[in-house]
């Protein structure tokens, strides 16, 4: 099927076309960019929710219940469930579907499992593009579910407008949550398995942590300069909005028991309240702008990476170069400098210095 036909079928609401478009995005198949760039004109309506939390926290079960509830209210739902891939074989076992049982036999809830293929940054691009495809298809709610550990995963969940972080009871003290940088990305905290021992304490600890943050200007979801700086050093996502707007959102803590659906209403209300807050405060516009800025950055980085890989190939394979280092003829720094010098010269000639991502987090917007 040609890209035009595929796009037409997707816009006409054919689920198989949506599935195929997402495959093309995942595969980075030839022409997928053209396809995705056409999706932009048809997207922007959906409410994108990110769900993250440690393995076993109950994400998939909770997502299943959320999808069921939204569906009962007449809204269509798309779910992107991300599992890690094996760093050894590149293969993956994607098991989130096992928990998605409430909406089987109903195509209006569209579940797609994805794994991390390729390099860093690739997953967040693929996820953002898949979200776009579901958005263009006309899904009202899109839920992105991922294990929240590390930069890559956090980048992924940030494709969402609202991020819910699941904290299971007795999951260690809250310092454990701080580690992953999870406090800053949460717009809503969910203490799932709230019927288990230790839930009260976890809620209490989270509350204290949030209050501590608010007092010190370090609130979750708020303007958190210190830890934001840490994130910025790696990736300056959302930084503009964070700096400009003193957040008026105080992160709620919702208790749920995903297994039996307890607290799902409250969670849905909290998610809706956050969305409303984003719209009313004008933060949503900033958020969207920052997301696009990030998309541009990631795409550029990927392309430059691709160009350099090609150059590396032309210079003989990386193995030969590595061998030369092993034999003591040269060193990685010299090789890198030699490879990059012509690129640098070329870019200088382009007179577009502000478009060069030197890794220091330069803003791309025209000055």
């Amino acid at each position: 099927m040609s890209n035009e036909d595929l796009l037409e079928a997707l816009l006409a609401g054919e689920h198989r076309a949506l599935a195929r478009v997402i495959s093309k995005i995942e595969d980075r198949s030839p022409g997928h960019r053209e396809l995705v760039s056409k999706l932009y004109a048809h997207s922007g309506e959906a409410d994108v929710i990110g769900i993250t939390g440690s393995p076993g926290a109950g994400k998939s079960t909770l997502v299943d219940k959320l999808a069921e509830t939204y569906h009962e209210r007449g809204q269509t739902v798309g779910i992107i469930a991300i599992d890690p891939s094996s760093p050894f074989s590149g293969g993956a076992v994607l098991g989130d579907r096992i928990r998605m049982v409430s909406t089987v036999g109903d195509m209006d809830v569209f579940v797609r499992s994805m794994s991390a293929r390729g390099t860093l940054g690739g997953l967040s691009t693929a996820t953002a593009d898949a979200v776009k495809a579901m958005d263009a298809f006309g899904k009202d709610k899109i839920i992105v579910e991922t294990v929240g550990a590390g930069q890559n995963e956090i980048d992924v969940v940030r494709t969402a407008n609202t991020v819910a972080v699941l904290v299971p009871p007795s999951s260690g003290d809250v310092i454990q949550t701080l580690k992953a940088g999870i406090l800053e990305i949460a717009d809503v905290f969910v203490v799932n398995k709230a019927d288990c021992p230790g839930a009260d304490r976890t809620v209490q600890e989270l509350r204290e942590m949030l209050q501590l943050g608010e007092d010190a200007g370090l609130g979750g979801g708020g303007s958190n300069r210190h830890s934001q700086a840490v994130i910025d050093a790696h990736n300056d996502w959302r930084s503009e909005a964070k700096e400009e707007i003193e957040s008026g959102w105080s992160t709620p803590i919702v208790e749920t028991v995903a297994m039996d659906g307890t607290g799902i209403e409250e969670l849905i209300n909290a998610l809706a309240a956050h969305r409303e807050y984003l719209v009313n405060s004008g933060e949503r516009a900033d958020h969207v702008r920052d997301r696009y800025a990030q998309e541009i950055r990631t795409l550029l980085r990927e392309d430059v990476h691709g160009l350099l890989e090609d150059e590396l190939e032309r210079a003989g394979s990386v193995h030969d170069l590595a061998d030369a280092v092993r034999r003591g003829q040269t060193d990685p720094y010299t090789i890198t400098r030699k490879l990059l010098d012509p690129v640098e010269t070329c870019l200088e000639g382009l007179d577009s210095d502000r478009l060069v991502d030197d890794g220091s987090g330069t803003d791309f917007r025209p000055k």
Binding site: R16, A19, D27, G90, G91, R97, I98, G105, L307
Partner: protein
């Protein structure tokens, strides 16, 4: 350009159909496929044919491996194949059946569109090889 390079991966749905609680074999296959570099979506136990079809279509898999040890293959497999046909997904999905399938039922299943049947004692390498060679291009 390299960033346009194809990162295509073989995607497989490993499905347990019907009232059959024996999933050791499905787990072994899921693990072996993963180690072969495939992306494996595991359906979980006790799936109805329509659930399996839904998953296969949404996940856009090239390979659907159905594990049945309950003896209900002659009822369940055709339902799944018809479902795939309904969504236009039958032609480019390689359908495999694993489990205990009597010799006399094989021909009929294959005539209906099952590409291969892997009985007890099949080496996982054999299955992986078959998938690599026959998985449809998307």
């Amino acid at each position: 350009m390299s960033s346009e390079q194809n990162q295509e991966s073989i995607r497989c749905l490993v499905a347990k159909a019907g009232l059959d609680g024996h999933d050791r074999g499905a787990h072994v296959i899921a693990r072996a496929f993963r180690d072969a570099g495939f992306e494996v979506i595991y359906s979980g136990l006790h799936k109805a044919p329509e659930e399996i079809v839904q998953a296969a279509v949404q996940e856009d898999v090239n390979v659907l491996g159905i594990s049945i040890l309950s003896g209900a293959h002659s009822t369940l497999v055709p339902k799944i194949l018809n479902g795939l046909e309904e969504y236009g997904a039958a032609a480019d999905t390689l359908v495999l059946v694993g489990g205990v399938i009597p010799e006399e039922d094989r021909e009929e299943l294959e005539a209906q569109g099952v590409a291969n049947i892997f009985g007890p004692g099949t080496a996982v390498e054999e299955t992986i090889e078959f998938v690599r060679e026959n998985a449809p291009e998307r």
